[in-house]
Structures are given as structure tokens and as C-alpha cells.
Symmetry: C2
Subunit: 112 residues, 2 copies
DNA sequence: GTATTGTTTAGCGAGTTCGCTAAGTGTAGT
DNA sequence: ACTACACTTAGCGAACTCGCTAAACAATAC
């Protein structure tokens, strides 16, 4: 069933999901690692990069997926997590102008 | 006494402070309101914009100040809070490149 | 089938966050 | 001095977060 909330509200929720996801250092780090590895890694490879237990990493991945910052592609018994930069730029483009900063793609120098 | 940690570590802490501060909807909203009001407002004006109790808003302001996203200028018995956009752009410039997105001021189109 | 490998789910405990109300601090006005 | 105003600090409770371990699941290998 479709989401029946008006567009604006959904945006706010999605913005909240993105910023909340980015608020934890480990999750930001996951995105970085994903980037250096060409944007796609299995859960195991990712988990091996961190000192946390594997389930802990799994949960962080879940938060990132729900925020739309990564997507998951199952392949046999592996799961490949893929970086979704567009989601990040979309969130920035949506929010930055509201604090006077121009969208990510079209920044204006702040009039200090 | 000065902070004796090496520059890189301090950056990471500051980045964490900024992203943590931005993770709460109310705090993002405070920055927006501050922007629409020319970047400077008293605590009372700010508090009046939200349905929360004044002390709750005060605490949010404290988080934003500590993250460096706003600064405070006492004036008589008022306190003027001032938007600090530079801090935000600095955080973006520091972090975005690490996930393949070009700094805020010099974005490259993501190579989708 | 059974075992093994890759990964998630369940559930717990410590710590943090975020709302509140009540009390405190400091400046200005009379 | 005393009152009023602007604002913060203290402290509480409910909810959430984040780490863990143990158990479950799902796909491949034997």
C-alpha cells in the first residue's frame, strides 16, 4: 500500500532519517569505507572493517538502508550493500537552502 | 589550557558534534528560523517559535553552540544567538569528499 | 539428509537523549 | 532594597541508542 501522507511531510521524515543515520560516527565511517571499495561490499567484508560485533554492524547497516543512504542486493547467501550518493545529495539540496546555503549542486558563497 | 590532541582527532570530534547536533529535527528547525530572521535572535524569540518549554529550547541551543553551529552574544539580560553557516560548510567540506561527493564549495556531479 | 557458511533477529543492560517542572542567576526598573 | 524580566541550571522519568551474546535463518557443500 502506498504512503498517503502529503509529499512535504514525507520529505521531512526522510530528511530526519538521513540526518539521524549520519549522526553516528560508525555509520558515517561505513559510508566512507563503502566509497573506498568502489561503492559495494558484502556484509561480511563491511563487518570485518570494524571492531564491533557483526550484529552491531548489521544494525548500523539497517539504519543506513532505511535512510536510503545505501541499498542492499542479495546474492546467494551474501548481501551486497551499495552506496547511494544520490540520497545524500538530495537531502542536502532539500535542506541547505533553508538555512541560506544554496543547494549542494549550486552553492552560493555565504554572504558572511 | 590548550587542546593537545592532534589536529585530525579534533576534526573528527567536531564533525561528530556537528552531525549529532543536526540529527534532531528541532535543532535543524532552529537553524532555519534563525536564518529567516536574518541570522540573529534572542533566546526568548527563539523559544516562542517552538511548542516546547523554554528550558527545552535552551538545551537545544546549548547543543548547537557546542557544535559551533551558532554563537551567543550576551546583551544586557538578553542573549542573542547568531547563525554560524561557516561551521556547517566546513563540516561538509571536510566530510563529503570522503564519500566521493566533492566539497560543498566545489561539488563534482556524482558519476552515477 | 547434515554440516557449514553468511547473515540477520531477539533480547538484554548501560548509557544517552529529550521532554517536563521547579528553582536559581543575573540584569533592569522603581 | 525589591520586584520584574530574561534566561539557565537542576533533576526527574520515559524513551531511545548502541554495544553485546545467543539463537535463528537461508543458501551452499557434502
Amino acid at each position: 500500500m502506498a504512503d498517503r501522507r502529503p509529499r512535504g511531510l514525507r520529505d521531512l521524515d526522510e530528511l530526519d532519517a538521513v540526518f539521524s543515520a549520519l549522526s553516528h560516527n560508525t555509520r558515517r565511517h561505513i559510508l566512507q569505507v563503502l566509497h573506498t571499495r568502489k561503492g559495494s561490499m558484502t556484509a561480511g567484508e563491511l563487518a570485518a572493517c570494524f571492531s564491533h560485533s557483526w550484529p552491531t554492524t548489521t544494525r548500523h547497516l539497517g539504519v543506513l538502508v532505511q535512510a536510503g543512504l545505501i541499498t542492499v542486493r542479495p546474492d546467494g547467501r551474501e548481501r551486497h550493500y551499495v552506496l547511494n550518493r544520490e540520497r545524500l545529495t538530495a537531502a542536502l539540496d532539500l535542506w541547505l537552502p533553508s538555512v541560506g546555503l544554496g543547494s549542494y549542486r549550486q552553492p552560493r558563497p555565504d554572504p558572511s
